[in-house]
């Protein structure tokens, strides 16, 4: 460094170099310490279905225009009811798929007849906006087999998730990216 030669006392330069080395060691060592002893790996956001109250914030608070949160269906938990309270609104005129009878605002639940008296319900993920209306219906009167999960094909994984900040039930958690879903356990 050119300054060294012009300065009468190199002590200042020496002290600075020592402080610089200490700082570099501190930053590098601190970062290594925080990574090393634990399982390293990225974290991603997910919804704990046990805590979710299907308030509807997931549909509106996401920074994406169309939320990264989508409904998923645990088929093994489903009762395959004809009168599905996740599918039909509370007072349907008729048990048909006509828009005035169904809960889903975007018609994202596909109802398919399997065999008498069972119907299969699948989620059209392209249409689902994560509003949780069906989740609420299924949780209140049904088997609670419909629930919300963050779709990691869409999630930007913001450092502070806007939905997590707005979640009234503290249901948003950071999970390891290797296991990014919290599937409901089938009992």
């Amino acid at each position: 460094m050119a300054d060294h030669e012009t300065k009468p006392i190199p002590r200042r330069g020496f002290m600075r170099a020592a402080a610089r080395a200490a700082c570099a060691l501190g930053i590098g060592g601190g970062a290594a310490y925080l990574i090393a002893p634990r399982a390293p790996g990225e974290r991603v956001w997910q919804i704990d279905p046990a805590k979710c109250i299907a308030c509807g914030n997931c549909a509106t608070y996401c920074v994406l225009r169309e939320s990264a949160v989508k409904c998923v269906h645990s088929f093994a938990m489903c009762g395959y009811c004809e009168l599905c309270t996740g599918f039909f609104n509370p007072a349907p005129n008729d048990l048909t798929t006509a828009a005035e009878n169904v809960l889903c605002p975007t018609g994202a639940i596909v109802r398919r007849f399997v065999e008498d008296p069972y119907f299969e319900y699948t989620i059209d993920r392209d249409l689902c906006i994560g509003c949780g209306k069906c989740v609420k219906g299924c949780t209140m009167f049904g088997n609670s087999s419909l629930y919300l999960q963050v779709g990691h094909d869409r999630c930007l994984n913001c450092n502070q998730c806007s939905i997590a900040a707005a979640c009234p039930a503290e249901a948003w958690v950071r999970v390891p990216a290797a296991r990014p879903y919290l599937w409901k356990k089938v009992t």
Partner: protein, 440 residues
Amino acid sequence: MRSLHALLITLAAALCGGDALAEQRFPPPDFSPGYSMPVTEAQGAPARDDARGYIDAAALAAALALASYLALGRRSRRGLVVLGIASLAYFGFYRHGCICPIGAIQNVVLAIADSGYALPLTAAIFFALPLLFTLFFGRAFCAAVCPLGAIQDIVLVSPVAVPGWLARALGLVPFVYLGAAVLLVAMGSTFLICRYDPFVGFFRLSAGLDLTIFGASLLVIGVFVGRPYCRFLCPYGALLGLVSRLSWRRVRITPAECIQCRLCEDSCPFGAITTPSPETPPARRAGKTALALTLLALPVVIGLGALAGRALSPAFAHTHATIRLAERVWLEDAGRVDGTTDQSDAFRATGLSTDDLYLAAGAVRAGFDTGTTLLGAFVGLVIGATLLRISLRRKRTEYEADPALCVACGRCYRYCPVEIDRRKKLEQAEGRAEQDDGSA
């Protein structure tokens, strides 16, 4: 008829069990063979793999190295502008400004405060790498790598000088912001820096009205006042400012001997150029008295800060979800408010007792009492240290860039006649070399 049956079952279920969430109210059906049940797990797309993060980290390292070379080696303002636009395009608009070193402060704090949280490698790299580069090459990160810096640097067309005292006073804000952000993460409230990032909404082309107004006004102010976010808010800038005081190489306005022409004096839009000390230094005795008084005042300032911090504890505690929930539940139980909120409904649905909630809230409040006291003392210390710096005088013989304030944007190079001379010679030499190449 069957529908009526199902309706009755539904009603019965609604009447008997309201809160048993995972209860199988309807038994799984007995399908005749031939029905294959769809796989639930097939509905989950895999999380993006780590490779994306490592590519970002590599891009950051490359951009930092290039920015350091352009700022200190090549001394090229034009190169820094181009790199800044490229960084804005990649880290900003393409990668949506997340993760960034400013926000990574919070991941580091969370990893310290919460033993269950492992610091992601990319967050660690994003936090540490710009600090390490600054330690050796000055704030090259701010110059052309940070997308927030780049977007402000681009809009700066008509810089006006901020009065020194005002700039110094506002320069304290980043430390307050840093301290508050650290406190809120440590207490588990929120990631303050990310929530109020003014430009990330632009990068994602989606922001709430409040942050759009905040970001837009910063850009409008930024047309006249150089980089208002970087200088008067950015908490990472506060850290870089501290570290850059120790930097090994840093921006020197003149490449050789300063000829005291004063042409660069007003060239810095960030007020980072310090002038040489006056020929006749002020009385040594007066300086010493001022220094002694400041040193004596330091503990008082820290103590006052701690008291003020402690007084603000309830306000800070209100950022914590548990505190807000406990207050709401208390108000509802006491009959002071009508109705319930989603929060209180969710809490009551869990079946936990309110006493436990109040106990938890009490513990959080106690934590905030300690935390805000420390935060206040820290702010007091920062104020005291600033006062000390003012009363300390160092002899300067040339026009220098203050390492803490200089963001290595390279504007001043163009004002230095010695630099212009050097560049001319360099270009001539390069031209000659090219001619030689051509003839050979």
